[in-house]
Structure formats: structure tokens, C-alpha cells
């Protein structure tokens, strides 16, 4: 009985907390008489969401595909480079300093260069999303490959396995939990990248919508766009988390997280 009650509370908790958060926000804004220009109440934001729903949907859709395109590039590039780094010590030693140096650059600083190259359009957001998100994928895939147990390697090598055999039979499957773990980080980063680039160098996307809304001092629309970004971000994160659970269930057998 007590166990069932606690399970129900666990299911209800996120709803109660979320609704409570907005309720407190509403009450505080009304009680203190905060102007809509500073901090709109959730009810005002909701109104704006309904009013601008077509625009919000249109721009969210563009933000989503630009993020996913950049993220897709990052996944392909990250897997290939990660495998190269994990499989070859020479590539690892040679490329790592470059990678770290590149990763140290704030990617916002790359946006002007991308604009010079491609002009204003979809290219800058897609490429910013890509540039900002491939690094964690590379590092994680390389780590997964580089940490194969020496005994496993011995067992296979003594049988005459080639390096390629070992990478495909052991290295890649065992780096999958690292890979999917990194996807959760990468999708969030890709999203940051595409929105920043939209803000500066695009005609479409939620970032661009926000840039225009702030130029018009349309504060409720800015907030409505923020909510749209939050919803979209949670959706994309949830999708990668779901993929991770489906693909690497064997790696998540610990009771630790459940306790």
C-alpha cells in the first residue's frame, strides 16, 4: 500500500512541481504588480503563445531541422573521427591537441566567419550546431575504443583476429554506451549552436523570431519563444535519452540510479 502510494507520488511529482512553479510565478508577478515589459505572467505568455502559434510553429520547425541537420553531421563526423582516434595511437597523439584547441574556441565567434562564407541562411545555423556538438561525441567514442580490456584483445588476437575484427566485434559495441551518453550532451549543444546562429545570421528559426521580437520590444513574444525553445529542447533530449535506453540496455543494469 505504502509502496503503491509512493509510486503514484513519483509519477505525479513532475506535474505538481511544474504546475506549482508557474502558479507561484503568476502569483508573485500579480502580487508585486511587475510590468509585462520586465517579466510577463505565465497567463500573458500563454496568450502570446496562442496568438503567435502559427509563427512559433513555423520557426520551431525550422530550428528543429537545422539543429537535427547539424547534429546529424556531428554524429557522422564524431563517430568516424572518434574511431580513428580510438583505433590509432598516432592519430590520437597528432589530432588531440588540435581538437582541444578547436574546442576551446567559443563557437559564437565562428558565426561571423560562417556568414562571410555562406551569407545569411540555413548554412550558418546548421554548421554552428555541427561545430559546437561534435567534440563530446569524438572524445566519448575514442574513449570507448581505447579502453578495451587487454585480456579481450589477447583472446581475439591469439585467434588471429585483425585489428578491424577487434574494432567491429568489441570496440564499437563497447563504445556505444559512451556514444549514446555523449548524444544527450551533443543534442543540447547543437541546439544552442543553431539558435545562436539563427539569432545572428538567419531569416527563419526561433532565434531569428526572438531577435525580431526584441527589436520590436514585443516582450510576451520573446517569452513565448523561450517556452517554445524549452519544449523543443526537452523533446529532442528525450528522444536521445530514449534511444540510449533502447540501444544500450545492457550497460544500464546498475541499481545505483534507481535507489
Amino acid at each position: 500500500m505504502a509502496a503503491r502510494r509512493s509510486r503514484i507520488s513519483l509519477i505525479l511529482a513532475p506535474w505538481v512541481f511544474t504546475i506549482g512553479f508557474f502558479a507561484i510565478w503568476e502569483v508573485v508577478v500579480r502580487a508585486l504588480g511587475v510590468s509585462n515589459f520586465v517579466l510577463p505572467a505565465p497567463s500573458v505568455i500563454a496568450e502570446a503563445i496562442v496568438q503567435y502559434r502559427t509563427q512559433l510553429l513555423f520557426h520551431s520547425y525550422h530550428t528543429m531541422w537545422m539543429t537535427l541537420a547539424g547534429f546529424g553531421l556531428a554524429v557522422i563526423f564524431g563517430l568516424v573521427l572518434g574511431m580513428a582516434l580510438g583505433a590509432s595511437q598516432i592519430v590520437h597523439a597528432g589530432a588531440y591537441p588540435l581538437l582541444v584547441g578547436f574546442n576551446a574556441i567559443p563557437k559564437v565567434a565562428m558565426v561571423p566567419i560562417l556568414v562571410i562564407w555562406f551569407g545569411v541562411g540555413w548554412q550558418a545555423p546548421v554548421l554552428t550546431a555541427f561545430l559546437i556538438s561534435f567534440f563530446p561525441i569524438v572524445v566519448n567514442v575514442a574513449t570507448g575504443l581505447a579502453t578495451i580490456e587487454p585480456e579481450t584483445e589477447d583472446v581475439l588476437r591469439a585467434l588471429g583476429a585483425s585489428k578491424r575484427d577487434i574494432i567491429f566485434k568489441v570496440g564499437i559495441p563497447r563504445s556505444m554506451p559512451y556514444f549514446f551518453g555523449s548524444l544527450k550532451v551533443a543534442i543540447t549543444l547543437a541546439y544552442v549552436g543553431s539558435v545562436i546562429a539563427e539569432y545572428n545570421a538567419s531569416n527563419v528559426g526561433v532565434g531569428n523570431l526572438m531577435a525580431r521580437a526584441s527589436a520590436d520590444f514585443n516582450v510576451p513574444l520573446i517569452w513565448a519563444a523561450l517556452i517554445a525553445l524549452a519544449v523543443l529542447g526537452v523533446m529532442m533530449y528525450a528522444a536521445t535519452a530514449y534511444a540510449e535506453r533502447r540501444m544500450t540496455g545492457w550497460a544500464q543494469r546498475s541499481q545505483f540510479a534507481a535507489q
Binding site: E151, D154, A158, K169, V170, R174
Partner: protein, 263 residues
């Protein structure tokens, strides 16, 4: 003596060794086909190096290693290996772990796809032999340590290797499980008659299982004693409490003690 594994006057220095000191020096071991050999010695004496040399994972700086009539210049491909750590792949079921060597070694590699059922039956039969009947569909991490080690033994034998290399495979197990596994490996060896080289620091284990025991000195490893174990086969666990058995263990114990003092 016609040796199946003939390690002759071998000195080996690992490429990455900081002090450049040899792991083994002037070592000679001869093991006949079908024989069960055990190598014992103080820890860090280069026992595992012997394994790597005999399987072609390392090549000696000096001396020769001949396995099955051929000088070893590449991984031998006729060996199965099992270690202290069962190293099962956690994303594969136990049965699929067993099939892994078959995905590497010819002729099985090309036959596996077409004859999958046959190979799976072979793996199931092997599992049954070590008391893991019907456990093939479980993931290795769902098995106990002793069961994983049994599965690991099965994996090292699935491709019917002519040479089985065991590197302290029972060291991490409790005493009862260890003795159970001694009997399992004894029976497998009796049935299939492959050549075994067992590296261990457990003298009772060596004497109980082996036909021939080699004692190694402290690093750099050399063979300081070779002892034929003429206890009649099949040996029962009770033999470990008889006087002749205890005498042999004592004698070997003496060699190891000398080897340790020499450090």
C-alpha cells in the same frame, strides 16, 4: 621427446619496459601433445609472458618458440585462452559470447552463417558439460562469478583448440567453486585430450591437474625445476589429502621458497 610446445632458451624484454630488464631469461619449456602442464612461480615472475610467447602475442628477443611443429611468428590461431577475469562481452548473451571465437577463426568463420544451428547446438552441449545447461540465453552479468568463469572456459574451447592456455583462471573464485572447476577442466581434458598450459600460483591446483609442473624463479623468470606428476588418473579430489600428493606439494613449495629468497 617430441614436443608440441617447445620454448627453447628464450629471453624476452617487453618493448615498453622502462628498466629494459628481461621478463624471462634463458627459459626452456617442453610440453608434449595432449599433456597438461602447469607453470608455478612467485608473483611477477613472468608467467603470463610465457602465455603470450606460446600464443604468438609476443615474440622472443632471443631463442625460439615452436608450437605444433612451426616456429611462432604470428598469433597461433590454434589456441584458446582463459584468464582470471572472465572478460565476457556484456552486450552479448552467454551463448553469443561462446560463438565469438567462431566468428574469428577459420574454417568456422565462413561456415558460421550457414551452419548457425549446428554451432549453437555445439555451444549448448559445451555449456551443459560444465553445468550451465540452458543458461545460454542469459547475459553474462546475470551469472555468478563461478558461472562466468565456466562460460569463459567454454568460450576458450568452442573452436576445439589444440592448445589451451589458462592464466590463473580460478584465482578469483572461492575454494569450493575452484575445486568444482578443477574437476570440470580435468574432465574436459580427459575427454578431448588437448594440450594445456596452466599458469597458477596455487601449488595444489598445479599438482592436482597437471602431468608436469614447471617452477619459475623470480624475475627475470627462468625454469628452476621441472617435476613430473605421476599420480594415477583419473584423479579424484580425495587425492589431494593423500601423502604422495602432499609430498609433491611440499617439494614444489621448497623450490618456490628458494626462488623467492633469491630476490
Amino acid at each position: 621427446m617430441d614436443a608440441f610446445v617447445d620454448i627453447h632458451d628464450v629471453t624476452h624484454i617487453y618493448a615498453g619496459a622502462e628498466d629494459g630488464a628481461p621478463a624471462v631469461e634463458g627459459m626452456s619449456i617442453k610440453v608434449r601433445e595432449g599433456e597438461f602442464a602447469a607453470i608455478v612461480g612467485p608473483s611477477g615472475c613472468g608467467k603470463s609472458t610465457v602465455m603470450k610467447l606460446a600464443t604468438g602475442l609476443q615474440f622472443p628477443n632471443k631463442g625460439t618458440v615452436i608450437v605444433d611443429g612451426r616456429e611462432v611468428d604470428a598469433p597461433v590461431k590454434i589456441a584458446g585462452m582463459a584468464f582470471q577475469n572472465p572478460v565476457m562481452l556484456p552486450w552479448r548473451t552467454t551463448l553469443k559470447n561462446l560463438l565469438l571465437p567462431l566468428e574469428i577463426v577459420q574454417p568456422h568463420r565462413s561456415r558460421l552463417r550457414a551452419h548457425r544451428k549446428e554451432y549453437e547446438a555445439r555451444a549448448e552441449a559445451l555449456l551443459a558439460q560444465v553445468g550451465l545447461e540452458g543458461q545460454g540465453s542469459k547475459f553474462p552479468w546475470q551469472l555468478s562469478g563461478g558461472m562466468q568463469q565456466r562460460a569463459s572456459l567454454c568460450r576458450s574451447l568452442i573452436h576445439e583448440p589444440k592448445l589451451l592456455m589458462l592464466d590463473e583462471p580460478f584465482a578469483a573464485l572461492d575454494a569450493f567453486t575452484r575445486e568444482e572447476l578443477w574437476c570440470i577442466i580435468r574432465d574436459l581434458h580427459a575427454a578431448k585430450r588437448f594440450t594445456v598450459i596452466l599458469v597458477t600460483h596455487d601449488l595444489r591446483e598445479a599438482v592436482f591437474l597437471a602431468d608436469r609442473v614447471f617452477c619459475m624463479s623470480a624475475r627475470p623468470g627462468r625454469i628452476i625445476a621441472e617435476r613430473e606428476i605421476d599420480l594415477p588418473r583419473p584423479r579424484d579430489l580425495d587425492v589431494t589429502y593423500t601423502q604422495p600428493f602432499i609430498d609433491i606439494v611440499h617439494e614444489l613449495r621448497g623450490h618456490i621458497a628458494t626462488a623467492r629468497e633469491a630476490v
